[in-house]
Symmetry: D2
Subunit: 457 residues, 4 copies
Amino acid sequence: MNEIAAPGLLDRAIRRITSVWRDMAAGVSRDEDDSIEAQMRACLAARGGEISARNRAAKLAQSYLALSEAGRLDFLRTLAGFDSDPAAVASAYAGLQSAADAAERAAAQMRLRQALEAPRLRLLTQFTTIPDGMKFLVDLRGMLLDHARTDPVLAALASDLRGLLASWFDVGFLELRRIDWDSPAALLEKLVGYEAVHEIRSWRDLKNRLDSDRRCYAFFHPRMPAEPLIFVEVALVEGLAGSVQQLLDQKAPVLDARTTDTAIFYSISNCQRGLAGISFGNFLIKRVVDVLSAEFRNLRAFATLSPIPGFRRWLDGKLDEPALLGEDEAAALAGLAGAESGGEALRVLLGRRGWMRDAGQRKVLEPVLIRLCARYLLNEGRERRAADPVAHFHLSNGARVERINPLADTSEKGMKESAGLMVNYLYDPARIEQYHEDYAGEGRRNASAAVRKLAKG
Amino acid sequence: MNEIAAPGLLDRAIRRITSVWRDMAAGVSRDEDDSIEAQMRACLAARGGEISARNRAAKLAQSYLALSEAGRLDFLRTLAGFDSDPAAVASAYAGLQSAADAAERAAAQMRLRQALEAPRLRLLTQFTTIPDGMKFLVDLRGMLLDHARTDPVLAALASDLRGLLASWFDVGFLELRRIDWDSPAALLEKLVGYEAVHEIRSWRDLKNRLDSDRRCYAFFHPRMPAEPLIFVEVALVEGLAGSVQQLLDQKAPVLDARTTDTAIFYSISNCQRGLAGISFGNFLIKRVVDVLSAEFRNLRAFATLSPIPGFRRWLDGKLDEPALLGEDEAAALAGLAGAESGGEALRVLLGRRGWMRDAGQRKVLEPVLIRLCARYLLNEGRERRAADPVAHFHLSNGARVERINPLADTSEKGMKESAGLMVNYLYDPARIEQYHEDYAGEGRRNASAAVRKLAKG
Amino acid sequence: MNEIAAPGLLDRAIRRITSVWRDMAAGVSRDEDDSIEAQMRACLAARGGEISARNRAAKLAQSYLALSEAGRLDFLRTLAGFDSDPAAVASAYAGLQSAADAAERAAAQMRLRQALEAPRLRLLTQFTTIPDGMKFLVDLRGMLLDHARTDPVLAALASDLRGLLASWFDVGFLELRRIDWDSPAALLEKLVGYEAVHEIRSWRDLKNRLDSDRRCYAFFHPRMPAEPLIFVEVALVEGLAGSVQQLLDQKAPVLDARTTDTAIFYSISNCQRGLAGISFGNFLIKRVVDVLSAEFRNLRAFATLSPIPGFRRWLDGKLDEPALLGEDEAAALAGLAGAESGGEALRVLLGRRGWMRDAGQRKVLEPVLIRLCARYLLNEGRERRAADPVAHFHLSNGARVERINPLADTSEKGMKESAGLMVNYLYDPARIEQYHEDYAGEGRRNASAAVRKLAKG
Amino acid sequence: MNEIAAPGLLDRAIRRITSVWRDMAAGVSRDEDDSIEAQMRACLAARGGEISARNRAAKLAQSYLALSEAGRLDFLRTLAGFDSDPAAVASAYAGLQSAADAAERAAAQMRLRQALEAPRLRLLTQFTTIPDGMKFLVDLRGMLLDHARTDPVLAALASDLRGLLASWFDVGFLELRRIDWDSPAALLEKLVGYEAVHEIRSWRDLKNRLDSDRRCYAFFHPRMPAEPLIFVEVALVEGLAGSVQQLLDQKAPVLDARTTDTAIFYSISNCQRGLAGISFGNFLIKRVVDVLSAEFRNLRAFATLSPIPGFRRWLDGKLDEPALLGEDEAAALAGLAGAESGGEALRVLLGRRGWMRDAGQRKVLEPVLIRLCARYLLNEGRERRAADPVAHFHLSNGARVERINPLADTSEKGMKESAGLMVNYLYDPARIEQYHEDYAGEGRRNASAAVRKLAKG
């Protein structure tokens, strides 16, 4: 679930936005020579009234976008400077300490919270009124996140902004929309840019993904109506799909969606870097399961076809462990590779381009890879946090590990990250709650009997 | 600008909502015997995942609405109990005190803010997902406000909720919609209930207020699409209107809106008690001025015809002050009333029902009332807070006092509150900013030359 | 199924329309002094291009509406004068007669049709472009129908216009819309005006008819979006409803629509006199049955509660026929009324106001009335045309006579027209086709066993 | 203004449609073995009611689409067979002949018209109810037109269908919609298929034509909402555009539309072969001029950049006429080409690929070509019908010939058809009516002074 900044798109949008903002800003009384800080102060003082403040905010946004990266960081540090008054905080805390009973304590705590509310929060809110202001704030947080680790002042500002965005982007405010070939071309073009799992290579590829046996859904925010927040691509098929290349094959026949029995979620992409850490994915999957169930009574299973991004890296770190392979496995691999140990043999074999086109090699390698992958998915990592991030995401959402598929993603990326393996996570509507509790509460990872057996073996 | 709870409307809505909520709640695993507190705890723990938590919230909302008033207060106190952990707050504050530099201080302050974020905030947010959940929260705050003065714990909860609502109802998220005779009957029916200035007496009266020489605009929130937040009624007329009864006369001829020159804002009503203190009025007026300017190039003036709710109360308190009246005024009044002093005469005359139908009495009374009213509006109260609340509202928004009209509201309420006087506040688009600054910054109240002269005289 | 002209509504609309038309007409080059005929000729010649012709049509429409009734008839006769050229018709017919084979005949017939196409048709079509032009044409036909019987020239014009309207208002172009309390007040106001079966007495009465256990659907035309063409009111109830007063009782409890089992169509009103003879009713009923079936799986029966407008008139004409009543019936009635014959007794008893409040009289009268009504509905009239117009309408649509209800409409009109009786016609989706064929093809009228027995008895 | 059938699109649509039709047809009682003719008869008899008839029509449409071309022609001939009854026509005509006065004549003529109304018309109308039925009828007429010249029976059917379509597609029912990059991808894809003037080569090319300094508008019919009927592409530029390659250059800078002064209509394409002869083009241009005038106050001129499809063909036929060229022209050309006569030289020079890249040749050739083109446009053809079809279209609409541009379309097609020349037709809103009258009434072709001078020279 990578995230994409799509800078090209932003740049074009910026040009359009700034022209509107220029019009708004034109209404602000002449103070062009004012420093950024003075302008921010004028916004906060709401000089000329709150409406003028909003026009000033448009002007500030325009100034920001005109700056170089260094200039933008200065801008953000200046903004971060509009923090709470330490004296007011200290005095409010003193009040809290001297509170005599629960009632006094509640009142004092309320005052402490108010003292801690930084003026910069109010200023950030003023950007919401301007057209595309919400996208501006989301991108602002994207920028802040890039520097939050090294700059605690910007980190604090990012934290404030996260609070605002988490409140505004609560799932209660989001709209689920279906995206299909009748969607605006401008939106489809963005999808191409945001797709983070399986690259969309052409309009023809895209159209194929929106055909009558496919579905695509995205969350949108009412104040960012042209910007998807997250989207999922679904294929309606017969039985669990085990190969993403087959799913995306433009020459494959189109199925009659009303007779398929399985919905495969084969790609989920977050679109807004600035909303990192504000979670939509689990809601999206659950909502789409509901929508599909209502439209297609014929569907009997909902599952993903997911990458295993951490498998090879984990495996490479284990190759020298003697306990990694069984005796028979080690012997067969060693024989095949002409290597001394099973681990060494694995390293050699996986290093060969095109091993998966050799039936003999596949016959030996695949069972070993699948077994190790089952172990990786079910046993590795911390108690409530599977080592693989995609596994963690779906287990958290209440899915179970259903099947591991060999030669499922033969793209260069797929071979490199997971030796071509992909996994189906199954969402059983009747068990989502229970499975979520098992994992989040007790750290138990659910899986099909077959996968469980592999992981134990 | 009174506010109306419109309990009848709410009750009906509640019946509808609870039926939907029942369906959502039906999905929640069996724990009917759980106490309210246990249910809240389950919501916060997100047992079964965040989606289940939202379904639980629906069940909680349903329980709340089924309670008596006392039960509801208990519910709210239980909710308020999900407050910050004092130890975590103390520890975070200690960290703040030991911060060595600005960077450490920023980080520590961020942690203190997080420690102060009460879990109840998260629970309140979970209500947004359920249908009509936003209206539920707004009405919850209405209830809290009724008890905030006497109960600091509920006041703290109300303060948290205010923070959320202020963020969600920021004007950047609101939609301005025109309301006319083609609007849904259900919405128009609500308008009748919410009108707080000049009662709407019948569908015929309402239709007259929505005729082709009238306009009505309201702000709506996307998550409460059937509920107006605030609305304004406008009459398009020739010249400043000086009588609200004339404006509302159903037999008056309909003007051709394209040839009128003045827009009169004659009624502004807030609709949601639970949003008290979150300000929309100034935005509404400014936006409507923009919309009308764009539609009707012919308009040359934008003004209100406003009540003066505090005039008579103020005047009654002054009647015994000798300096209140000029010598000639006092003499004329005393003669008319057969009273000893001018003040006493005023009291007698204003106490007579129907004095305004006696031309002789009007001739003496009106100039005195208008002069005193000018003084009341321009000189009374504190420096940046006019005594009259409606005057304070419009002066804050950048209007000026333009004209005081006798016999402008001859309804019982109008005679009782302001001796029938009403005032036009003028919004001059080119001066709104300046006038706002004059008042909010320096405490100067702008007025037409005529009114200024009266106030001085 | 009466039809209502609703002249008041039209007048108001006319004022609005003419103001737009004036603007369009303003673009037409100066020829104000031209006679109506000259203007029509200019329209047909498309002087200045087809677009100018359309502007001219707006001007013509405006002139028409400004005329007195006599003036309008002159206008229409002038318009009717733009008829086919007799010489061209004669020549084309000669061509047809001399056609040597099928191919020549087809070509000649095509030319004859073209020769018969009156220029006035083209002119009528030009009105479609102007705003509300479609409503103008519909009302024009309404006017023509009023005079068609006495004026063959206007009848021919009405026939041309019928052809156009039948083509434009083909059910393929109509939109079915649900009307509820969220519909525009302006539309609901029209409903009140158009309701032709059971008068709507107030907004409260209307709101009750749109409550959650009621449904109202109407057909609309895309070019007359604010004008319903026909609408039906439906009550969702338990079991066949037998009293319209109970259905319309505002104090009756609101049922949970999801647990009802029967949909009662209790009022169908045509709204546009000018569309008389262009049939929508059968489509409307069938479509609404489909829509309701999809929304409410619980519904097991679809039936009407219909007036019997011709029953009393028919009965009164039969009172002197000795065979009308059975011996026992006659005796009982005569005894009750102190009359000499059963027929005479019936006349006396039905003439008494309030007989239905006397249990003794009801006990004797009701069985007789119901039996006679069954006979009237099933046996009277011509072979494929039941005597009662409402019966004919529903039998044509594929319904059957299900039940006759005493004291079902106790309004003055109901007592006078049908002695308070109403009838349920049942629409069984599985048998509509068959029943239609039985009636339209073979003249058989279907009915429940009980009603058939009564009719024979 | 070529027209494109776009069979690929149709085929795909057909697959989708037939699946819906199958569902409708499934409701028709079992009569699969019935011949096409028997099915048509059942439709007309409305067996089982009119609604059943419409379901039967769906079944018929489905049968039609499943047929081979020969089968379809049989189907259409069978349909054409449902013609008027000759005896009824003869009898009605006899009635007309014996009519004694105007009233009788009007009535008799009405009856003759009714007798001539072929039953097949009613059957065609029944197709409107089925989804995509309108598109089915339009395509049906496309098929009929292909055979109308050789088959008078199909021609007569085509004429009937033309009458219906002309009535339904009257401009009063059409919707003008803007098409831009936010339009549905499926619609944009159709645009690519329908563009008949300057081929759209890629999504990138298309996006460039929909950029902020471009506009595209199309007419749609409410019953064919996904199918454009005709569309126009407009470029907003500074000054008259003289080269279509420059207009379509994807690397050209995007202008600020608010500062441009000229709107260039550079491509108009009809999309539906089956609507041939039903005119929209003039309405489209006029409406778009209005829309653009309202949006951009800055626009001072509206003109086309149009092909001259007949120029080279006409010129080639004139090359041997001695009077074609002036003496000087002939000499210069002959010298350049080493040919004996001017005409021969022209033939040789225009036959050379790439002459336009030789400055010397261009200097001699261009003035001659422009002069001859002016003559072709203004003097050739019949009195009210310019020889060039595009010239005739724009002159009929009230435009004038403004400027002839050399090297304006250097595509292969442009060089071949018009030696690279293109022409600007100017639409002056104030003179459209007059110019239309000049041309349509008196046969005068308006042009700028410069072009008039050239044509005379």
